[in-house]
């Protein structure tokens, strides 16, 4: 409280001021250079919105959203199963956790060609690449969640005669909810990255494909408009996750 003295403006005000300042800088630099590579903010807004009336681009946005949704759901399911199996016992944790971290550390873009080889250049490879990005954060959060359960809760449940299934349902799962949401938030961003990377380098459809096309044909205004749309998509997903997380973590 003492830090936020009454003379300082509300953080929301300064935050908006910073964003407006950045947009002004963008406008100034955009007008200075060549229009082949960079476009001022005003032009992105004026001509950029046109692309959203192009049926091709609309279809691409729809394709990417669908692929992303599938990749996200699969990431969640696989990450949860993977995380729970690894966190199941000390033995499985010590055996598989280092392997998981090793796999997680690989810069996956280097193995994108393998995904195309196995899954073709259609939606399957995009989904697979999105899942390979999204499932690790879910698994790691789930494992961290299970490890954080207070041992006294398990001891106490055992003393009251709880079975393994009851402990899982009444203690492990509810305890996991907040970490699961953290994992979901990370996974949604990671899956989006995976899907876009696959589209950018390998596929003939989707938003990633158009970002490549607009940059190769020197149309920066359209490129930025598309990136803007992607950014809004990412922010909306992230924010809705954060709100859900907050709702389910009231007891913390």
């Amino acid at each position: 409280m003492s830090l936020q003295s009454s003379r300082l403006p509300h953080p929301m005000v300064t935050r908006i001021a910073v964003i407006i300042g950045l947009l002004i800088l963008w406008e100034i630099f955009g007008r200075m250079g060549t229009s082949l590579f960079f476009s001022p903010f005003s032009k992105v807004v004026m001509s950029g919105h046109e692309i959203f009336y192009e049926p091709e681009v609309r279809r691409a946005l729809l394709t990417t959203s669908g692929v992303l949704a599938l990749a996200f759901i699969l990431s969640l399911a696989l990450g949860l199963v993977l995380g729970l199996s690894i966190a199941m016992s000390k033995f499985t944790y010590q055996t598989f956790m280092p392997v998981l971290l090793l796999l997680y550390a690989i810069p996956q873009i280097t193995i994108l060609p393998l995904f195309v080889l196995y899954f073709g250049n259609g939606p399957a490879s995009k989904i697979a690449f999105g899942v390979s990005h999204g499932m690790f954060p879910v698994a790691v959060s789930v494992i961290a969640g299970v490890q954080g359960i207070k041992p006294i809760l398990l001891t106490s449940a055992a003393s009251m005669g709880a079975t393994r299934a009851q402990i899982f349902r009444r203690i492990t799962l509810p305890y996991l909810v907040p970490s699961l949401f953290t994992g979901m938030r990370l996974a949604s961003t990671a899956a989006l990255l995976g899907v876009l990377l696959a589209e950018l380098y390998a596929s003939a459809g989707g938003v990633g494909h158009f970002t490549r096309r607009f940059s190769e044909t020197f149309q920066p205004d359209k490129l930025y408009a598309l990136i803007g749309a992607l950014a809004i998509m990412a922010i909306v997903i992230n924010e809705s996750m954060r709100r859900l997380e907050k709702r389910f973590s009231k007891w913390r």
Binding site: L153, A158, S159, M160, G161, Q166, V177, W251
Partner: protein, 269 residues
């Protein structure tokens, strides 16, 4: 007197060696009998094995040798129908309301669903917290949380109640009030109770018999009988007799505590 409900037959327990150290003999051939409806306290220096013995009786630890018997049957695991626990720290589920915490305990114990609500409400009422049924544990004080733990243990309707330093996390005033409540409540419930404690006053206030443990390895040094009817009141706590009993207990314990400190020093060097 009534027959013995809990029997401990030459129980010894050794903990495996911590890395690089020797294995630790925590309990050395303990024998005891606890009668139905009796309230006993285990007191002794830190590391004397009193909590270990409690957990052997509760079926949470299998002793290295010897056995604990409850109603004549050897204990081989938790006995949720016969034994309820109250732990040192809050063992309440933080995401569940006070009432749901008690209901979950009943679910674990195997009570049918439609019976859980009424039993849980009655138990909460007996500790005077019915107004907090819909509160979450983090909204309660430490003393209230332990009362909820007590209500949960009572709701399980077991003959035996094991308490592992239930006052440890409470401040001095709260623990005195909680102690009086406990004495009153337990006098009406007629349960067999084993209380592990560090506090001389608590042991004298609550117990019919106090088992004084030696420093490690834990043996029974003496058994002190407190011949005073329950419920015990603040009048008893301020009486001459109370002070005498507490002093007597302190005399018994003092050497053991000093020995325990010596043990630790040796372990360090």
């Amino acid at each position: 007197m009534a027959e013995s409900l809990v029997r401990v037959e030459s129980v010894s327990h050794t903990f495996p060696a911590p890395e690089g150290g020797k294995e630790v003999l925590a309990l050395d051939a303990i024998d005891m009998e606890i009668r139905q409806g009796e309230m006993v306290a285990f007191i002794g220096p830190s590391g004397c094995g009193k909590s270990t013995l409690l957990n052997v009786i509760g079926g949470m630890i299998a002793p290295t040798s010897g056995a604990a018997l409850v109603s004549g049957q050897a204990v081989r695991g938790p006995l949720p129908k016969q034994i309820a626990y109250i732990f040192q720290e809050s063992a309440l589920l933080p995401w569940a309301t006070v009432l749901d915490n008690i209901k979950v305990g009943l679910e674990f114990q195997g009570v049918p669903k439609d019976e859980r609500g009424p039993i849980a409400s009655a138990a909460l009422k007996s500790v005077g917290l019915e107004a907090f049924a819909a509160s979450y544990p983090h909204q309660l004080s430490g003393g209230m949380k332990q009362r909820v733990a007590l209500a949960r243990a009572l709701s399980l309707r077991t003959d035996i109640l094991l308490m592992d330093e239930p006052f440890a996390a409470l401040d001095e005033q709260t623990r005195m009030i909680f102690g009086e409540d406990l004495s009153r409540l337990l006098a009406s419930e007629r349960k067999t109770i084993i209380l592990v404690t560090h506090s001389l006053a608590e042991a004298v206030l609550l117990a019919d018999r106090i088992f004084v443990f030696t420093s490690r390895p834990g043996r029974i040094k003496a058994v002190l009988t407190i011949d005073e009817p329950h419920p015990r009141t603040p009048d008893f706590m301020t009486s001459q007799r109370f002070s005498e009993l507490r002093n007597e207990l302190y005399e018994l314990l003092r050497d053991e505590v000093l020995a325990a400190i010596g043990n630790d020093r040796q372990g360090l060097s």
